[in-house]
């Protein structure tokens, strides 16, 4: 399928999630659904980031990239800042490459 079709498909999926509750106005979300939805973003992000960090080619591999991502994980945990995580992780990659790890 071509790019435009995928873009419009993604837009439609996005619009559905934005418009659904605004369209029906007076309905309340069931509490169970509400509690589940809160857990969806961290689950999806973790499912994305763990394979991308530890197995970028589909298999576990440990190299400079892995160490740099681990540095980034510590930074993300301590600073809770996206910017510092990215800058620190890339700086770690440069330093580790210089050292030859």
């Amino acid at each position: 399928m071509g790019k435009p079709l995928i873009f419009f498909g993604m837009a439609l999926a996005t619009y559905f999630t934005r418009y659904a509750m605004i369209a029906v106005l007076d309905r309340e979300l069931p509490p169970l659904l509400r509690r589940w939805l809160r857990h969806v973003p961290p689950a999806m992000l973790a499912a994305l980031v763990v394979p991308a960090a530890l197995a970028p080619q589909g298999r576990l591999q440990v190299d400079t990239h892995t160490w740099a991502v681990l540095v980034g994980a510590v930074l993300a945990w301590r600073t809770r800042s996206v910017l510092w995580t990215i800058l620190g992780g890339i700086a770690a990659f440069w330093m580790l490459s210089l050292v030859g790890l």
């Binding site: 837009a11 999926a13 169970l32 857990h39 689950a43 999806m44 394979p51 960090a53 980034g72 992780g89």
Partner: protein, 228 residues
């Protein structure tokens, strides 16, 4: 000053953050083979940052259907945002409500709902915040893609790390308690295992649903133990 302009100006403090992510998105779009115009078009049409980053990450291995389904799951949080803002939109025409939903982003929603809750919000202000973010996102994406074209070998400089690092940072902002950490560990572990067992990128949706489902279950059981 009109309410629309008040909303538009309120986005200014958030614009640097949006632009930083937009530049990043544009560079990553180049890496998976998008032209600058395609990167721009995706932002104009989809206008959903996390979903677009995810789509790029899946682009080379996944087909349209898993990409669109993942977009749906990633954006499910917008249902909660829509539910919280809906009571304030009651008096509006269907056209206004449909249009306000179109460009509702995390940022514009946050600005608008804060104003509504203080009793100063209205649809013109909400539209202003929507438009402010909508102007910044595709423009910075296009710029990032043009810049990305100027860096020939991003992997040599570790710039491909921007993706896992950016998502790590985002993930941490969602981890507020122990249940959150448990959800992330389960989903991440299942996704890693799944890359060995399953083709394509379905594993991301499966791991996401399993992690969030187990988190809910843990909370329900914990809640029942806490209140007999």
């Amino acid at each position: 000053m009109g309410d629309f302009w008040r909303g538009l100006l309120a986005t200014l403090p958030l614009v640097p953050g949006v632009v930083a992510f937009g530049l990043l998105y544009g560079m990553m779009a180049r890496q998976v083979g998008f032209s600058p115009w395609e990167a721009w078009a995706m932002s104009l049409i989809v206008h959903a940052g996390s979903a677009q980053f995810t789509a790029l990450a899946m682009w080379q291995t996944a087909d349209a259907v898993p990409i669109i389904l993942t977009t749906l799951v990633i954006n499910l949080r917008h249902i909660l945002m829509g539910a919280s803002v809906a009571p304030y939109l009651r008096g509006l025409s269907p056209l206004w409500r449909a249009f306000l939903a179109l460009w509702m982003s995390d940022e514009s929603y946050a600005l608008a709902i804060a104003e509504y809750e203080q009793g100063r919000g209205n649809h013109h202000h909400f539209l202003g915040t929507n438009v402010g973010i909508y102007l910044a996102w595709p423009t910075s994406g296009l710029l990032g893609a043009l810049l990305g074209a100027a860096i020939p070998e991003p992997r040599r400089y570790g710039l491909d790390l921007v993706f896992p690092l950016g998502f790590l940072g985002l993930l941490m902002t969602f981890l507020k308690d122990r249940t959150g950490a448990f959800v992330a560990l389960v989903a991440g572990g299942v996704a890693l295992l799944g890359t060995y067992l399953l083709p394509g990128k379905w594993v991301i949706i499966i791991a996401g649903l399993l992690g969030s489902g187990l988190g809910l279950l843990l909370e329900e059981i914990g809640g029942r133990w806490g209140n007999p």
